[in-house]
Symmetry: C2
Subunit: 157 residues, 2 copies
Amino acid sequence: MKKLTQSLEDYIEAIYVINLSSKVIRVKEIAKFLNVKTPSVVDAVGRLTEKGLVIHEKYGYLELTDKGYKLAKEVNDKHEKVYKFFNKVLGVSDNISKKDACNIEHYISKETMDRMIKFIKFVDTCPEGYPEWLKNFNYYAKHGRHPSKCTKNNVSK
Amino acid sequence: MKKLTQSLEDYIEAIYVINLSSKVIRVKEIAKFLNVKTPSVVDAVGRLTEKGLVIHEKYGYLELTDKGYKLAKEVNDKHEKVYKFFNKVLGVSDNISKKDACNIEHYISKETMDRMIKFIKFVDTCPEGYPEWLKNFNYYAKHGRHPSKCTKNNVSK
DNA sequence: TAAAATTGTTAGATTAGTCTAACTATAAAC
DNA sequence: GTTTATAGTTAGACTAATCTAACAATTTTA
């Protein structure tokens, strides 16, 4: 199966996300979610239907096929991981992390994704808790210089 | 001035990069660089010319205007930083770092870019040299677990 | 249950980006 | 200095993604 375009990935992810909080999916909700007009949604849904990713009863509800669900989940997982990496590791603000994750999720290769995920896990499972070096990075980002001593494991409190 | 599209950013960056190693820029070289056909280049160059970013003598050479040069350099700098972050910090392979940087450079916001740059600098200027924690991350990425002791600053050799 | 409101669809236009094929200008080689 | 090769351009087609405006189906409500 050919890769989806960025746009179609956005649509299928939107359907997935909407479906998390409501059992019923409508053209209008997708339009609202993605800030587009309904004809654009109808168009996109048509293309997703052709690919066997979505079932759409005319004038009725939409649902993801199994294949569509799987794909949508993959896209959304990527999104979540990139968001988390930007926000929790790099310390980017919530809004911008979301926005950037949303944009770049379509373009990150498996290998890079894999390293990001490992990085997040590396931080989350650090034996010393929130890692000293990450505290140091936040200090560095704020003050433009390393904290006075960082050759020893100096916990400040 | 309106932001360039991804595609136009690629074209203007290509011109900039080609220009680094050769004084003369031709339609054909751009086409080769970006893996597109010459009519696509002509088309794109036309749009860049309209925006006052490029000067193109018909059937002749191309050059960047001052404005074009400035913009192209910004795009390329972003590219370089993202590449370096993926490659040097995350440890992504050379090829994939390049490919991913090339794709996502168009979508990263200033804030995220800023944090990435700071992260690279944080690593590069670490008082202990190549940071212990980054060694630990590489170990973690390879073996799936943290090295046996990392609560002390244990230099292994 | 008929009118009104909401939601969904279709048709047609527009922009961007790409291509192939045909053509034209310039440069190189003889 | 013609011919030939190379490089650049134009025309026309195609795909994807969006929109507005007009229309159709469904649902709500009075």
